[in-house]
Symmetry: C3
Subunit: 138 residues, 3 copies
């Protein structure tokens, strides 16, 4: 069995950003030399998520609108977590987006459908944060 | 290490359908001859989800009602993604349902609790779509 | 390849409880003697979830408030599943929390960011229920 581990680092310009990381995950898989296996893509911070969906700007705005509707950033004082913090909504938004994904590796490549794209969703940005990539297989 | 990969194909009669695929995943695991491992069940389309919950018709309607309440299909024009499309809600519903599952394989079988059933949730049906099954183990 | 399997048992005092299980999952990983791999943490009951987020009491209350707002327990009769049952909301809350997690194992330990904590979320408690731990690796 082989395994590989890397981190992707981010420092996004806005509080919330949605970044397509599919190519970076594929490059990791290629470096790992794993041909058949599974790859976990997991944010190491609890105010961010990794998800798979379409890379289409209207949809990304729709996702952001949905999350703001269900767990709005303001009023900041509406959350009990926000004592000296203002990111409770980020902790909640990440849950609603299912926070992590596992991807198949087949023939040395990510085994994705034609429109599956892997995204890093930042909900409390403007500081350095990371995503863990961990693959096992052979 | 062993690995196995198959696809399940669907063409559902309605826009939204909820299909119990537990037996089909179990059959895949049996064919794989993997005794101990993990099995990813992942929709290859981004307007569908795979989830684990009860196979009870009232609950399935409750799930559908919840998703329609949080991310309604109409008005179609309420979503920015819907320029020449009408399926933005399907992209959102899938996120709220957590889009994929990983199942344990123990003793050559899916290691599920007594009521855990694996479902394919179609949110933009009436066309051919597929689910990826990928298992690794020994 | 190595694999390991254990169950964690719970009987929580309230209908809804949020229990930090990080140490118990780490102890399982240590016993498994797996150095590099993946670990599935999956509730075997469909009215509970496993998730990763902060261990902060205000946030836990914010999560509970969000889930009660999106899928309230009452009125019990508002759900079709509740024929002789009163736990439809628990089935829905678990979906919104993404129901399971996969964790990386690196160097024999859970490979978590500084604030990542693993929680068992009970939505229909006061009876015995379990979580499956399944790790594979080497």
């Amino acid at each position: 069995m082989k395994s590989a581990r890397e981190e992707l680092w981010f420092e996004t310009p806005h509080r919330r950003d949605y970044i397509n990381i599919t190519d970076r995950v594929q490059e990791f898989v290629s470096r790992s030399e794993i041909r058949e296996g599974l790859c976990l893509v997991n944010p190491m911070h609890i105010t961010a998520a990794v998800y798979v969906n379409d890379d289409e700007s209207g949809l990304i705005q729709d996702i952001d609108d949905l999350l703001e509707r269900l767990a709005p950033h303001e009023p900041v004082s509406g959350y009990r977590h926000n004592v000296g913090e203002d990111n409770a909504d980020a902790h909640l938004k990440r849950q609603l987006m299912a926070h992590q994904v596992v991807l198949a590796i087949t023939g040395g490549r990510l085994d994705l459908g034609p429109w599956e794209q892997v995204f890093y969703a930042e909900f409390d940005g403007r500081r350095r944060k990371r995503v863990l990539l961990k693959a096992i297989g052979e």
